[in-house]
Symmetry: C2
Subunit: 217 residues, 2 copies
Amino acid sequence: MLVSWRVKAVSLGVVALSLSVELVCWVFRHLRPKKALNEVLFFPSELACVEHIFNPTLTYSCFCSLPHGIETSFSRLLRHILSASSSLDLCVFAFSNMDLGRAILALHSRGVIIRVLADKDYTAISGSQIGTLRKAGICVRCSKGTVYMHHKFVVLDSRLLITGSLNWTLTAVQSNDENLIITEEQDLLLPFSQEFNRLWVKNDPCKRPLSCSQPKP
Amino acid sequence: MLVSWRVKAVSLGVVALSLSVELVCWVFRHLRPKKALNEVLFFPSELACVEHIFNPTLTYSCFCSLPHGIETSFSRLLRHILSASSSLDLCVFAFSNMDLGRAILALHSRGVIIRVLADKDYTAISGSQIGTLRKAGICVRCSKGTVYMHHKFVVLDSRLLITGSLNWTLTAVQSNDENLIITEEQDLLLPFSQEFNRLWVKNDPCKRPLSCSQPKP
């Protein structure tokens, strides 16, 4: 009987230790913080057709002259932007890239709440997408003052930050050496969200005599 | 005897479970990855004296007219840059800020290995710090081609990345709306290090007839 209880005691100890090891493994797998997305894109991006990104259910092939089926820095950027489901806050110095304009319009038509803050000097330049966005009813505000609003960042759904050196122009995407960080890190994202809200309020057109954010008649 | 062994078995189980809980706590405290530094700076920066950052052991007070003892975005940036102890790889479009130039020269005099990659058009502009760095013997390369080398990032000691919209100019620091991310996240830092090395090799002056990286006589 004594030996039997010794065996039981040792068995119980082994089981308890095994369970503890299992518990540690489970904690590692499930309770440690999920690794936030961190991605870096460099430009210039390869030239490639992006039609399938706007129309994922495209049943016909695109016959444009650009290469097809290539994943590029620009297609990655477009996919991330089009992943927005509830809100998009864009703060950008120069915005003339038509594909990026199309992406913003597509999100707007899906009901995503969009706020765009742009540099007032660049907004007036020929080729700027800002007028197109306004005409579609998207809320746009322009920077006040004489200095540059030189940011190039966008916050999607309060979960994803895209920021870097890249202005939203064709030259930046296709020619220049540029970078973008795409991150879910809250330590990085939250300050940008707060800065956007601060600048949004600061550049409220109701607070100045001359408004540049009213849709043109 | 039977009861005694039952008590021992239960005690052993309790001890094993207690140890497992302790183990889980220890794992949480010690084995989970250390949180990487993530910091965001926004500009324009407040105007303040930065003399004490260059001379931490300053025994006399600075009598300049700027406010003293204020921690600003620019002073944070300077502190981070001056924390480099072995290497600094800078890839920047516009570099005319004299305090930032002074910081690079200070690191160079401490023996930090410095590589600077600059946009060739901006390098030739009056006020650029690139000539001053070259004269001090710092290795500088200029971008080839007709497009902009529009990056604004620096990698310190292969451990810290500073990147964003901020060019290294006085206007960017004191006037514009700008941002900088300062991060130790390896997922973000490593691609920038690799991109720097790629651009450094690509813009090797030995590979082209006209070099802009040779120190002027």
